[in-house]
Amino acid sequence: MGKTHNLAKIYLGAVFAVLYAPIAYLVYYSFNSGGTMYAFEEFTWEWYQEVFQDTRLFVILLNTITIALLSAAISTVIGVLGAIALANLRHRRMRNALLTLNNVMLVSPDVIIGASFLILFAAIGIQLGFTSVLLAHIAFSVPIVVLMVLPKLQEMSPTLIDAARDLGASWWDVLARVVIPYITPGIMSGFFMALTYSLDDFAVTFFVTGAGFSTLSVEIYSMARRGISLTINALSTLVFLVTLLLVVGYYIISTRASNSRQVRWGVASR
C-alpha cells in the first residue's frame, strides 16, 4: 500500500509540475532586464516598478476587477433564482429542456458566444463598452452558477422543508432560513467560479468591448503585434499571487463554515 502511495505522489507531482511550468516561466521572465520573454539577461525589479507607475494599466486592472465582481454577483443572483425555479418545476420535460439550453450555452465555444453577443448588442443598439462587457460576462457566468447550485438543491431532503412548514414558517422564512443556508456552499462555489471565469475571459470580451473600455486580457492581446511588455508578466505575477491568497482564504472559510467536512464542487465546464 505504501508503494502505491508513493507512486500516487509522484504522479500528482508530475501533473502539478506540468500545470505550473508555464506560470513559473512567466514569473521567471518578469525579472528579465532584457525586456523579452526569451533571452534572460539580468535580474531586475524594473517591470514591477512600472506596474505601479502605469496609471492606464491600473485603470484597466480596476476595470477587469469591477467587471469580474459585478458580473459574478449579478449572475449568482440570477443563477440561484433560476436553479430554485428549475428544481421546483413540475414538468419534467420542461425542466430537461431548460437544462439542455442552459448547458448548450455552457459548452458553447467562446467565439460563438462573443460573435453572437456582438450581433445581439448591435441589433438592440447597446454601445460597446462597460455595459456590453458586463452584460456579456453575466450572460456566460449564469449557467455555471446554476450548475453549482442545482445539485445542492436536489440533494436537499424535502422533509426539511415540510418540517419547517409544519412549524408554521412562511414561504419566505423557509427560503431564507432553510433553503439558502443549505445551498450556501453551492452559491459560494458558483460565485467563485463566475468570478474567475470573468477574470480569465478573453474571447467574448474581445468581441464585445468598445471605446474607452478595456480589460486586461484584451490589452494583452492588442500588445501581441509589437511584443507583449514584461510589465504584463509582472502584473500577472502579482494578480496570480492575490488569486492564490483568495483561493486559500476561500478554502479556509468554506471548510470552517460548512457543516459537512466537504464542500461539494459540481461539474465546472465552459
Binding site: 512567466l26 465555444p109 461539474v267
Partner: protein, 265 residues
C-alpha cells in the same frame, strides 16, 4: 405559492431568451446570407465542400484525441487526489493555473517548447536534441490537454467523492483484485462523472482557436479557427454563422447522447 416560485424563473428565463435562444436564432438567420446580403443556401452547400468537410472531420479527430488523452491523464489524477489530505485545496490548486491569461501561458509554451527552450536543453543532456517540438501535433495536443484537463478532473473527482467506500470494500472482501474492483465497481459507478468530463472537453475542443496558430502554426485548422477568421478577418458572417450552427447542432447531439446514456443507466 407556485406563482412566486415561477416568478423566480423570470430573470433566468429572460437570460435564457436573450442570451441563448435569440443568439441561436440570429446566427441561424445570418447563416442564410452571403457576403452581398443575398438570401442563399450556399453557405450550407459550401460546408459540404471538400475544404470545409475535411476541416470538420479533422476537428472531430483532434477533439476526440484531446478528450481521450485528457481522460487517461485526468482519471488517475482525480483518483489520487481523493486520497490526499486537504483534497479540496489540492483540487483548487489544480484549477488555479487556468485563471492565468491564456495568451501569456501560450507564449510561455512557445518558449518552453522551442528549439532552444528548456525542454530541448534537457533532452540535449541525453544527446537527443535539438528536436522540433513546436508546430507538431504533439505540442498542439499537449497544450490543448493543458487547457482542458481541469474540466475533466473536476467532474470525475466529484463522482469519486460520492462513491460509497463500503461498495469497494465489499468487492475486495469478495476477493476482487485491484484491477477487477476498478473495472467492475469503481469505473462503472463514476461513469456519470466521466461522461460530464468528456462533454466538457470534447465540444469546446472542436472550436479551439488561437493555439491552432500559436502552437500548431496553422497545421491544425479547427472549425473554431474558421469561425473566428470569418467573423473578424474575411468578414463573411454568413459562412461563419453556418459553421457556428453546425457546431451548435453537434453540441446538442452530444448532449442528447450523453443524457440518454444517463437515463438508461
Amino acid at each position: 405559492m407556485e406563482r412566486i416560485r415561477n416568478l423566480f424563473l423570470v430573470p433566468y428565463g429572460v437570460w435564457l431568451l436573450l442570451f441563448v435562444i435569440v443568439p441561436i436564432l440570429m446566427i441561424g438567420y445570418y447563416s442564410f446570407f452571403d457576403i452581398d446580403g443575398v438570401l442563399t443556401l450556399n453557405n450550407y452547400k459550401r460546408f459540404f465542400s471538400p475544404t470545409y468537410f475535411s476541416m470538420a472531420l479533422r476537428s472531430f479527430w483532434y477533439a476526440a484525441l484531446i478528450t481521450v488523452v485528457c481522460l487517461v491523464i485526468a482519471y488517475p489524477t482525480a483518483y489520487f487526489l481523493t486520497k490526499t489530505k486537504h483534497k479540496q485545496l489540492w483540487l483548487l490548486l489544480i484549477i488555479l493555473p487556468s485563471w492565468m491569461n491564456l495568451l501569456l501561458k501560450t507564449y510561455a509554451f512557445i518558449g518552453i517548447l522551442g528549439t532552444h527552450g528548456p525542454i530541448n536543453a534537457f533532452l540535449g543532456v541525453f544527446g537527443l536534441a535539438p528536436r522540433q517540438i513546436l508546430f507538431t501535433d504533439f505540442s498542439f495536443i499537449l497544450v490543448a490537454v493543458y487547457i482542458f484537463i481541469p474540466f475533466m478532473i473536476l467532474p470525475i473527482f466529484s463522482a469519486l467523492e460520492k462513491l460509497n467506500p463500503s461498495l469497494i470494500e465489499a468487492a475486495y472482501d469478495l476477493g476482487a483484485s485491484h484491477w477487477v474492483a476498478f473495472r467492475r465497481v469503481i469505473f462503472p459507478l463514476t461513469l456519470g462523472g466521466v461522461k460530464s468530463g468528456v462533454q466538457a472537453v470534447f465540444i469546446p475542443s472542436l472550436s479551439l482557436f488561437m493555439i491552432t496558430r500559436l502552437i500548431a502554426g496553422n497545421r491544425v485548422i479547427t472549425l473554431g479557427t474558421a469561425i473566428e477568421q470569418h467573423f473578424l478577418v474575411t468578414q463573411d458572417w454568413g459562412m461563419g454563422s453556418a459553421l457556428a450552427i453546425f457546431l451548435v447542432i453537434a453540441m446538442g447531439l452530444s448532449m442528447w447522447f450523453t443524457e440518454r446514456g444517463r437515463r438508461v443507466r
